[in-house]
Amino acid sequence: MVHFVSIASFRKRLTNLLDVKRGVYSGIKVEICKEFQGNSIEQIRQNRDMILINDESIVIKLRLPDKKQRLSKSDGYRLIYMVMKKVPLVVFLDVYPKRGPMQQLDIDDKEINRLILDFITENQSNSLVLHDINNCLQEID
């Protein structure tokens, strides 16, 4: 079984995107879930959008479409996640749109470093949140 967890800044980002007027980004959870549903951990680890690879983990900057706004993968969202190599764990680190009012063009290595540090801290303090990938990223207690 693959475990999906998120750090606090990812959840805050998601909330902010969902709060944007007229529901511009309301399709984001559906797009994220579609990418992972039914995939094994090996399939999740194999992705050409990898940006950082080391012995323990792979950081992936996944291109997601925004079908609600008819935007292609290159124009849709960027989901930054880390998949661990030794345990079946996917960590959602960040997500941002390439278009619209909360547009972000790219992410740099300092920001990725901060996100991984957040994960390390939140893992130690047991404050990571588990998500149900088959139920629109519903948080699991």
Binding site: R48, L52, D55, E56, S74, K86, V87, D109, I120
Partner: protein, 145 residues
């Protein structure tokens, strides 16, 4: 048969797009400019091929490879930006111009990611230290089925 390394293929693609886009930019600036049917879509198809190539080769591109084509790539991006500025005056080309704008953003993102993650990440000591700490943390609770 000559087998070219991917850096040479990338450079060749960049050169081809650079020549075509610069030539088009010169002609489109002329008051007597006449659109050649299919010319712009063909150029944009070449740009798509370059983006796909950079995307597919992302993990094999080294700092040396990047140094070999980075300047050319930046010249092409700037030439495409200038071409877009000229081209947007022709409303009949709007669909193609919108596609060109998206392609420029794609190339800029790829260039940024290659520079930041393929070339500079290994030199970023903060990031390397973080990855080292990451390799030691206990994730055993996630190994349960």
């Amino acid at each position: 048969m000559i087998v070219m390394c991917e850096t040479a293929v990338i450079s060749r693609h960049i050169g081809k797009i650079g020549r075509k886009s610069y030539d088009r930019r010169l002609r489109i600036a002329s008051p007597n400019y006449e659109e050649k049917r299919g010319e712009l879509p063909r150029l944009l198809n070449e740009v798509d091929k370059l983006s796909n190539l950079l995307h597919n080769e992302f993990h094999t591109i080294t700092a040396e490879d990047y140094a070999a084509f980075a300047k050319e790539l930046n010249i092409v991006i700037n030439t495409l930006k200038s071409l877009y500025q000229e081209s947007r005056q022709y409303f009949g080309l709007k669909v193609h111009n919108d596609r060109m704008l998206q392609q420029i953003a794609d190339l800029e993102e790829l260039d940024h990611d290659i520079r930041v993650f393929r070339v500079n990440a290994a030199k970023n000591m903060d990031l390397q230290n973080t990855l080292s700490v990451l390799s030691k943390i206990d994730l055993s609770r996630f190994s349960q089925k």
